[in-house]
Every structure is written in structure tokens, then in C-alpha cells.
Amino acid sequence: MRPDAARIEALVAELLSELLDPVEAKRLAKTPARVAESLGFLTSGIGSRATAQTLAAAPASHGMVITRDIELYSMCEHHLLPFFGRCHVGYVAGARTAEPGELARVVDGVARRLQLQERITEEVAAALYEALEPKGLGVVIEAHHFCMMMRGVEQQRSSIETSAVLGSFRQDAALRRSFFSLAFAHSAEER
């Protein structure tokens, strides 16, 4: 079901009239339509299955392939405030491989829902594991959360790091260690 933009617009207008005095609410008369459009986009992944579609047969190589720094933007399900950061995906090919752009599409599809960072990490890993049938796969996400930065504890520099590992990455500690060290290789330059 696609969201009803007119209905969302009406709800946002009602919200603004609760938060603002009438003069300010009137000044922002065009805001509800913009917010409805924006919210529709940012939650466009709700109810759709994020999966990698354009795939290629894996070459006979056993090396690990890592795609670093996939931009990630999502909305936290507790405060409806954004969180943002980078996602790193690594895998040792089994049945199929995917272009880096295809990985980014899966990340976007999962992130454009009301989310928790831990769940995005798990869902991206599960979707790619199913599509690629790799020998092993890992996903790491580093993100900053506005709910921590602009309100609440007001921690401006704290970042949250989450990971999910499947297949040989889970069983083989050496493999996992090399994935983590490559995924975090440049994280000091964050922000």
C-alpha cells in the first residue's frame, strides 16, 4: 500500500498547529506538503522486499571483496529523527556476485524504513546472503544519531558501530578479523 500523501499532509498540518502559534503555522503553509513528500521517500522501503537483482555468476576466485563507505541515511523508529553514516559490506563469493551499486540499492531499500541501526545491519546481511549465496559475508555500519546529538544526552561525536557476520565469517575468526580490519581501515577520518 502506498502512503496517502494528502492524508499525511493533513496530519502534518495538524501537528504544526499543535507546535506553533497560528501566525507561524500560517507562515509555514507549504511545509506539510513538503514533509509529506519527504516522509514518503524516507519510508519508501516499508513493505517492500530489499533484494539484490542484477547479479553475475561468481568467478573462480576465493578472495574477499569489500565495498566500503556506502552512504547510509535512515530514520530512527523511536524519535523519527535521522541517523546517518557508512555501511561496509564484505563477502567471499559463492554462487553469485553483485556490483557495488547493487549493494548500495539494498542498503537504501532497508534504510528507508523506520529503523534501528542493529536491525538494518542484520537485514542487509540477510538479504545479501540470500541473493548472493556467498561462502561468507559481513556487514558493518558506523552511524551518528540525531536523537543522541540534538536532544537527550547531546553527545555530538559519539558514533554507534554495529556488525553482522554470516557463513564462513562467523565460523572463521581469522577471516572475520581481516574483514573487520579492512572495513575499519580508514574510520579515523570520519566526520
Binding site: P3, L28, F41, G47, Y73, L81, F146
Partner: protein
């Protein structure tokens, strides 16, 4: 703000977006969002007079005072998404100075409204200028906007810079340049 109304509106929004507002992660979301929005718009209800008047001191100085890199978070009035960055404030006093934390508190007060960056910049400058009858005031804000980063044009590294110059900061090029030089050194 009527807390219960806001919670009801947020719950209905969740349903419209295709969510189940009863699932564990969302059950308390309407209350959390209501509290977050109340805080993020608290600048409308703040009393600037009271904030300022308890912390203005007589000081016979006629030199520039600069507060750099004040962290700043606001909500854009078009999309209700955050914009964030740093605010730099400089002023030349005319017998009266602010307590040192008050510049940051004034910036927060104006930022906790639905804003556009240029108006936020102007409001901070004007409030300071009037409160202490300063000889001059300069405010520069550098910020990144989530409405540009996560949707729309999706530019991740673009920074918007706005400035407001009043009094001697506007009329005397040397004063303005001194202020800009003081805030220009490399970021921590």
C-alpha cells in the same frame, strides 16, 4: 502543545506510512516524538529577556570578543529535518558584555525553532546587537542540511555558509575582516 493530540497525530502518521504502531519498537514512539518535538521547538517559548538580563556585565572594553565553533542543531522549516553545524559569534561591546555561555544559549534558543539558516543567523545577530547595544556584531553559521543529504539532490558534503553583520561589522571593512580571520583557522 497538547501532548495527547501530538501523540495521536504521530500514531496516525505511522499507520499512514505503512507501519504497525503497536509493534514493540514503535509502541512508545508517539510519546518520544512528542517530547523530542517539544524540546526542538522550545525556542518559541523561551524567554530571551530572562536568559540575557541575568548575565550582562559592565565591562569597559572596546575590543572584539569571539565565540567560535558553537555546536548548532536546528530543524529546517520546509522538511522538518535537522540541519547542523557550527556557529561563530563576534561582537564589540559598548560598556556591556555577555556572560560567556550566554552566546551559546542564545544560539540554541533561536535554533530550537523551525528555521531557515539565514533567518537563524539574522535572529542571533539582532538579539545580541539589541540586548547590549553593541558597537557591532557578526554571526557566521556553517551547516549541513539533512534535507539536501538524505533526499532531494542528495549532496553529502555540501556546506551552507550564512552570515549577518551589524553595526561596525557591517560598516568597517577592517573590523569585518578581523572577525572573519579569527574564525577562519582550521577546524578541530
Amino acid at each position: 502543545m497538547n501532548q495527547q493530540n501530538v501523540e495521536r497525530i504521530v500514531r496516525e502518521l505511522l499507520i499512514e506510512l505503512g507501519e504497525n504502531p503497536s509493534r514493540e519498537g514503535l509502541a512508545r514512539t508517539p510519546a518520544r516524538v512528542a517530547a523530542a518535538l517539544e524540546f526542538l521547538t522550545s525556542g518559541y517559548r523561551a524567554d530571551a529577556e530572562r536568559l540575557i538580563n541575568n548575565a550582562i556585565f559592565t565591562q569597559h572594553t572596546n575590543n572584539m570578543i569571539v565565540a567560535r565553533d558553537i555546536e548548532l542543531y536546528s530543524l529546517c522549516e520546509d522538511h522538518l529535518l535537522p540541519f547542523f553545524g557550527r556557529c561563530h559569534i563576534g561582537y564589540i561591546a559598548n560598556q556591556r558584555v555577555f556572560g560567556i555561555s550566554k552566546l551559546a544559549r542564545l544560539a540554541d534558543m533561536h535554533a530550537r525553532r523551525l528555521q531557515i539558516q539565514q533567518r537563524l543567523t539574522d535572529e542571533i545577530a539582532q538579539t545580541i546587537f539589541e540586548a547590549i547595544d553593541a558597537e557591532g556584531v557578526g554571526v557566521v553559521i556553517e551547516a549541513r542540511h539533512l534535507c539536501m543529504m538524505m533526499r532531494g539532490v542528495q549532496k553529502q558534503n555540501s556546506v551552507v555558509i550564512t552570515s549577518a553583520m551589524l553595526g561596525s561589522f557591517r560598516d568597517a571593512p577592517a573590523t569585518r575582516e578581523e572577525f572573519l580571520a579569527l574564525i577562519a583557522r582550521s577546524r578541530p
